[in-house]
Amino acid sequence: MSEKNNYIQGKTGPWEVVIGLEVHAQITSKAKLFSGASTVFGGDPNTQVSFIDAGFPGMLPLINNFCVEQAIKTGFGLNAQINKISIFDRKNYFYADLPQGYQISQHLYPIVGKGYLEIELEDGTVKRINITRLHLEQDAGKSIHDQHPNKSYIDLNRSGIALMEIVSEPDIRSVEEAQAYIKKLRGLLRYLGTCDGNMEQGSLRADVNVSLRRPGEDYGTRAEIKNVNSVRFMGQAITYEIQRQMEILENGGQIDQETRLFDASKGITRSMRNKENAHDYRYFPDPDLPPLVLSDEEIERIRALLPELPDAKKARFIRDYQLSAYDAGVLSSELETVSYFETALKHLKEANEKSIKQLANWIIGELFAALNRDSLLIEASKVSPQSLAELINFIYEGTISGRLAKDIFTEMWETGEHPDKIINAKGLVQVSDEGEIATVIEKILNENQDKVMEYQSGKDKLFGFFVGQVMKVMQGKGNPTIINKVLLEKLKS
């Protein structure tokens, strides 16, 4: 692991940005953390609210077992310590979308302790970002402020939904690292099925802590940018914040420890008005909830049911399929991509290093390009993994040329047809018959005698011209290897 230098050059010298992320991930449970109300997104206001979620007098919380299990699973995915005893605390503050006047969270004794996540950077290095902890807590309801000049509206559907709060150490040193971290974390959560990672819908949100310091010195004062809900916005917010802080510090000023919001329309962060920046949450253990005690049996049972995690899968792809680290990384990052790749793999007539490499190239190249162009997820791919495998089989066997394969793929994408149908219908089978090719070559050479003489007297570049002409006559179906071989022979004589 190399320590890259990410220093930012200011007017008065270099600065190092120090970033920590607190990610809130909504658990994929059907019901809420402490009540049986539904968690489905987008319901009519206050229809997914129980008396417990609404904080009515005498109501009591009861923990959802599924949520506990997802936290443990995620802990394993983060290579973290699972704490057998954890305690729920009340975080006390007043806000209209917090009906009880406190949030049930975990303060001193969270369910998951220290762990780490390894991120791959573009230059190929791998960096370990340490995780401080993961704890369970309730989400708050929703306040709508922009529907009326002097009223705000409160919908408690989200109140009480289970969140995992995942806190990283301040180990992140650049926008690239921050984005790689959030993408890796999101991929992991989706892999495990513990969170759907949908940032637009708010099921994954990040609070970004940013500070600057002179290299080698103590941490500077940090600002917290709350509720960043896209990878792109994260990059913009951090970039803006670095500039803002650098300007203040270079002019001899001080950074206020405060909470800020990212304004996506303007690309800036701004201070949150009227918010008591230093909250006194008066944490104390929730007397309505005994300590959460996990048995060894339970922990082992969950460990045994874990799917192969992304890093292990990547290592296996490299080992078993001789894929490059980059290819293996891309193919293993999302469960749906893994599924596609592995299904296609099963349908390869011959699965060896060469054909698998071809498959990998096609998925990472042509397929991803088509998906991006049409804004589709791989699960909705218009070319099924079986069809893609069939296409690869044809290429591998030499039935079609690599050049034509791209056109065939496009046709497959647009029509949904199988490759063999398209190849036969359009008569695109590659011609590899030496005799046939020789006939075409002879014709071309005869029609271009002057060029032949120029080539033979040293103009090597004309070779490409001949190949092009042959391909044109053969409508791209000529086997390039054979063409080259026969053409070379004929030109020599």
Binding site: F56, L60, A96, G101, F284, D288, L289
Partner: protein, 494 residues
């Protein structure tokens, strides 16, 4: 025949089964008694129509000789801290205003499932915070007890003041209360009736307006010990909706009243002989010891070394939990709302107007002891001392089977003569609070009178989940004390 309102719960149960009177007659008698004794202000909300409907349904069951439920047709009152569906629940506070819960508490549901009849919701200290029932937003409750030749009005005690006044005055056969620091036992002693605080977790807290979650416990207020045993059997249950609800099975407590306490070891804690303990109460305690000795029990002095720290510990933990539990009363979703220009103003004005002085004081203390920088010195410290107090009892119960103490340091005080200093007022609970901190059950049995004729009670404490044992000891004491018989000669009602 005894007046219907002077029957005990068990006597009334037998009377109904033996068709001596109907459920409707029984309920009607109590409705009239409520009207007669309205000046005591025991009830905040009376529900005569609902009561008669329920009584009618019971009469139908009784006529068909259908399998009768344990409390079939018996009219009771409910402390206005239990949420009753569609029936106004106030916690004696302005801040709940006209709140009508859309759900029922588990304890009251258990009572309705057993066939009981609802007479109404009973007055209490606001949010159960008090020992006098003087802090209610609906006016104080006046004890039915008076001194002969004197018209001073006395407090019934608190916080379950309405609950005890109704039982003592005969305007309910039995009532429910809650006990966080003594709020069942202390008023029971002041009003000369039986009050039982079960083990923490024995009764569900679901649907009870929370004051201090780790201390609150529902329990019965009754005319005698047998009634308390019957009520507890119905009120107690394992409730899956309450994560602190005990899973231990509920025995038939009535069956455990053998009256035999031969060789039972009774502990007398020396630290309960507090400074300024009224000599009449000291004498009562000695008398109680004699009664139990005569019944064959063995008396032993024990030590509960951390007793004197119990009250201050309580006054850190209870207000702290209360400050958090009462944060939901904010004018947003239910109850009183005082409009404000901003959200914060709405909160501040609503809560200023909606909460009474004592509640505000306790919220402020609670907020302070939890605030940044003070958690370790106060809250954490109190939690540690709480463990020491619990351990004191665990050690004691290795040597003795139950503990006998007076319930209160004094008899009831007159309205207008109550201590103005909050700490002196808190001292009323000095003998009851330790049991709440340790989570153990406690029973108060009326045992004697002051010179002037006001009731005094004795308290029996037992190990966790041994309500049967303390009820049995209480039963023996009750027989020996003959309190009811003596009271008949003394008591007046308004």
């Amino acid at each position: 025949m005894t007046k219907l309102t002077e029957l005990t719960l068990c006597e009334a149960r037998d009377g109904l089964v033996n068709k001596q009177f109907s459920a409707q007659e029984l309920t009607q008698a109590h409705i009239e008694k409520i009207e007669e004794t309205r000046a005591l202000n025991a009830y905040i909300t009376e529900t005569p129509d609902i009561a008669l409907k329920m009584a009618q349904a019971s009469d139908e069951k009784l006529a068909k000789k259908e399998e009768l439920r344990p409390l079939e047709g018996l009219p009771i009152g409910i402390k206005d801290l239990f949420c009753t569906k569609d029936i106004r629940t106030t916690a004696a506070s302005k801040i709940l205003d006209d709140y009508k819960p859309q759900y029922e508490s588990t304890v009251t549901q258990n009572l309705w499932d057993a066939g009981a009849v609802l007479l109404g919701k009973l007055n209490l200290d606001e949010f159960a915070m008090g020992s006098s029932n003087l802090t209610s937003a609906y006016g104080p409750v006046i004890s039915p007890w008076k001194i002969e030749g004197n018209d001073r009005q006395f407090v019934p005690g608190g916080s379950s003041g309405g609950s005890v006044a109704a039982v003592a005055a005969g305007s309910a056969l039995a009532t429910t209360g809650t006990d966080t620091g003594g709020s069942i036992r202390q008023p029971a002693a002041f009003a000369g009736i039986v009050g039982l605080k079960p083990t923490y977790g024995r009764c569900s807290r679901y649907g009870i307006v929370a004051f201090a979650s780790s201390l609150d416990q529902a329990g019965p207020l009754t005319k005698d010990v047998r009634d308390a045993a019957l009520m507890l059997k119905i009120m107690a249950s394992h409730d899956p909706k309450d994560a602190t609800s005990a899973t231990i099975p509920v025995p038939d407590f009535e069956k455990l009243l053998s009256g035999n306490i031969s060789k039972l070891k009774i502990g007398i804690p020396k630290e309960y002989r507090v400074e300024g303990l009224n000599p009449e109460i000291d004498a009562l305690w000695a008398q109680g010891i004699e009664w139990l000795k005569s019944a064959g029990a063995e008396i032993q002095e024990i030590s509960l070394p951390h007793t004197k720290y119990a009250l201050p510990t309580y006054y850190i933990l209870a207000p702290a939990e209360a400050s958090s539990n009462l944060a939901r009363y904010d004018g947003v979703r239910f109850g009183l709302r005082v409009p404000g220009q901003t959200l914060d103003e709405l909160y501040e004005l609503t809560r200023a107007e909606g909460f009474g002085k004592e509640v505000k004081r306790r919220i402020m203390i609670g907020t302070y002891v939890l605030s940044a920088g003070y958690y370790d010195a106060y809250y954490l410290k109190a939690q540690k001392i709480r463990r020491l107090i619990q351990q004191d009892f665990e050690e004691a119960f290795k040597k003795v089977d139950v503990i006998l103490t007076p319930t209160t340091p004094t008899a009831a005080f007159a309205i207008g003569e109550e201590p103005k200093d909050p700490v002196t007022m808190y001292m009323n609970d000095v003998l009851t609070v330790p049991a709440n901190l340790a989570g153990i059950p406690g029973l108060s049995v009326p045992a004697s009178f002051t010179k002037e004729g006001l009731p005094l009670g004795l308290q029996i404490l037992g190990p966790a989940f041994e309500e049967g044992r303390i009820l049995n000891v209480g039963y023996v004491l009750e027989q020996a004390a003959q309190f009811k018989e003596k009271a008949l000669k003394l008591r007046t009602s308004t």
